[in-house]
Amino acid sequence: MNVKGGSTMSLKMNKVFQDMDQFWSVELIGDVDIQTSGRLKEELNQLLDQKECDINIDCANLSYIDSTGLGVLIGVLKRVKKSENNILITNAQQNILKLLKITGLDKIFVMK
C-alpha cells in the first residue's frame, strides 16, 4: 500500500505501508511547526484509521520540529499505545535529537 502525502513548501510526507512487518513508514521532509503540525496530525490519524499498527517516522530529512509538532507525536503515541503499538523515530539529525533529549521524549518514543 503506497499512499503519497500532500505537500506544501515546508513539509512533505511520504507514507508507505510495510506489508512484511506490518507497520506504517512515514518519511518527514522539511519542517514540522505551528503551520504544518495540524496536517501531520490529520495524516497520521488517517493512517491509523486505515490500520492500527506501529508507525516508523524517518527523520533523516526532517530539518525542524517545534513543540506543536512534538505535541502531535505525543497525541498520536497515546493513540497507538491503546492498541499496544509504538512510534519509532529513526535517523533523527542532531538538532532534533537534542530537542527530544531535553523534553525526555527520547525515552518515550522508540529511538533507532
Binding site: D33, I34, Y64, S67, G71, N95, L99, T103, G104
Partner: protein
C-alpha cells in the same frame, strides 16, 4: 552600542518562520555556532507560537532582536489573552501532554528567559543568549 531589528508580524502561523529565519541570520552574523543558532531558532519559534496561539483576535504581534555587546536579546510582545504566570507548571516529562512544552523548551535553550503576562493584557517574553568566545 545596541543594534535593534524589529518585526511586526501578523498573528498567523505562516509568519513564524519569518521570525525564525531572521533570528538565524542575525545570530549567524553575531558569530554564534551552528548549535546555538539552532537553539535560538527553536526558542524564537516557541515564543512566536505563543503569540499566534494565544494572541486572540489581535492582528499583529511584535518581535525585536537586540544585539548588545555579546548578548542576543529577543523580545516577543503580544496583546492577546495573557495568562497567569504563577499558575504555569513545568511539564511532567514522564507523562508528557500535548501542550505546555513551549516555555520549558525556551528555558532549556536560552540563557535567560523572563515571561511577563497578565490575563486579558497580553504577554511579553524576553530571552537572552550569550555569545561565548
Amino acid at each position: 552600542m545596541k543594534d535593534c531589528i524589529s518585526l511586526t508580524l501578523p498573528t498567523k502561523s505562516e509568519y513564524v518562520s519569518v521570525a525564525r529565519l531572521t533570528a538565524s541570520v542575525v545570530a549567524n552574523n553575531m558569530g554564534f555556532d551552528i548549535e546555538s543558532i539552532e537553539d535560538i531558532k527553536v526558542a524564537v519559534g516557541e515564543a512566536c507560537n505563543n503569540a499566534v496561539l494565544h494572541g486572540a483576535c489581535q492582528e499583529d504581534f511584535e518581535i525585536s532582536f537586540l544585539i548588545e555587546n555579546s548578548e542576543f536579546i529577543v523580545e516577543v510582545l503580544d496583546c492577546g489573552n495573557g495568562f497567569s504566570v504563577d499558575e504555569y507548571n513545568e511539564p511532567d516529562l514522564m507523562n508528557p501532554g500535548e501542550n505546555g512544552l513551549g516555555i520549558f523548551i525556551m528555558r532549556s535553550l536560552m540563557d535567560d528567559v523572563t515571561v511577563k503576562s497578565e490575563v486579558g493584557q497580553g504577554t511579553k517574553i524576553r530571552m537572552v543568549k550569550r555569545l561565548v568566545v
